[in-house]
Amino acid sequence: MLEAFNFRVILEYMPLYLQCFSATLWLSALSLLGAIIVGTIACAMRLSQSRTISRIAGIYIESIRSTPLLAQLYFFYFGLPSLGVMLPEWVTGIIALTLNSGAYYAEIIRAGIQAIPYGQIEAGIASGLNYFQRMRYIILPQALGMTIRPMLGQAIVLVKDSSLLSLISIMELTRAGQLLTSDRFMPTEGFLTTAAFYLVIYYLLKGFSGWSEKRLIFREAH
């Protein structure tokens, strides 16, 4: 298999790969942004005093978590047209990724906020800080430090999830591999190159996660 690893073909397809690499990055970045926004809103709804609002957010989150992303993707890809909504594939893809990761971000943010010991807030109240000051100086800085790692973890998952977009004909990294397979019968070169690109993104994100954790995590005083 590896005796005839054809580097020339890879070089030949490299422009395509780079294009697809960039597509993967863009799709992931836009979905990530959307997911964080959706997640924050869903989290706020989940923590709301109103039972109805909380329940709506709950149904959204539980539905996403209990079903596979591919089924959700197909749901939008095949479902939206039947409602008369015709969207380019990449928009559908971003919608699916955004709503999917959004649910997970909602849970991550919720866990981060609820993990702050109530004693901290009490201390803030006792020293006269108001709600916004407590948010700004006590709660949010700590929540940020605690959630940075799971948030980046979910970002890595999102990048990997974007590979499913190849199944609705979007030109991204995995599709490049599929093309090399169908055009030139070279799945080895095709998919190993694809995997290599994904690993680059993975290690960059992991590195960033480690770097930012060191800057942002506060160790609990003993």
Binding site: S63, P68, Q72, S163, T174, T181, T188, Y198, L199, Y203
Partner: protein
């Protein structure tokens, strides 16, 4: 028109149930094999042998850094050119088992390393061998930490099994994809698909939460 499609969908239910069975089969096999292999890897990963730790760690990282879809394609398309002829179902189980084993490896290793070092010291001081320590002292205690995330991982395995539909395994997702070609009501068809996955995953997620609560109670008692 809508009610016509709805009737067609009901008529297709047996097909969906067959797909559900396929999903259960693929996930179930991978789950069992993945737990066995992953536990062995996990024990190796927490050993004092640096070489063993690094090799397993490197493989786990590789699997965690690439999308599952790409792994499925690699196993399905590339292995045959190395002389191993594979049909879709075995390829799917191999890929899912491998991925599951990697994540379970990390869960098991984490559980083992969470057992307080004082326990190992006490066991060492009374002359118990490494194997005896693992079997009688460390693993029984590690099990408490391992069980909730392990069940959580099973949910992920079931959801990820949807990806193998891409190489033609006729699971619930594939049935949905095939059905929507003749019943172009994406919302209904994939709503049903979602419901079927929900029926499996939601109880499992709840089980994981219940286990987590019970284990935490026991831990604080200690």
């Amino acid at each position: 028109m809508w009610s016509f499609y709805f009737n067609e969908l009901i008529r297709s239910l047996p097909f969906f149930l067959k797909g559900l069975w396929m999903t259960v089969a693929v996930s179930g096999l991978s789950l069992i094999a993945g737990t066995i292999i992953g536990s062995i890897w996990g024990i190796m990963r927490s050993s004092r042998n640096k070489i063993l730790r690094s090799i397993i760690g490197a493989w786990v990282d590789l699997i965690r850094g690439t999308p599952f879809l790409v792994q499925v394609f690699i196993i399905f398309f590339i292995l045959p050119s190395a002389g191993i002829e594979l049909e879709a179902f075995p390829a799917a189980v191999i890929a899912l088992t491998n991925m599951g084993a990697c994540f379970i490896c990390e869960i098991v290793a984490g559980g083992i390393m969470a057992v307080p070092s004082g326990q190992r010291e006490a066991a060492t001081a009374s002359g118990l061998s490494s194997f005896q320590q693992l079997r009688y002292i460390v693993l029984p205690q590690a099990l408490r930490t391992i069980l909730p995330p392990l069940v959580g991982q099973y949910v992920l395995i079931v959801k990820d099994s949807s990806v193998v539909s891409a190489i033609g395994v006729v699971d619930v997702t594939r049935v949905g994809w095939l059905t929507v070609q003749r019943i172009p009501e994406g919302l209904m068809v994939f709503g049903l698909v979602g419901l079927l996955y929900f029926a499996i995953c939601y109880p499992l997620i709840n089980l994981s939460n219940v286990l987590e609560r019970r284990m935490t109670v026991v831990a604080t008692k200690l």
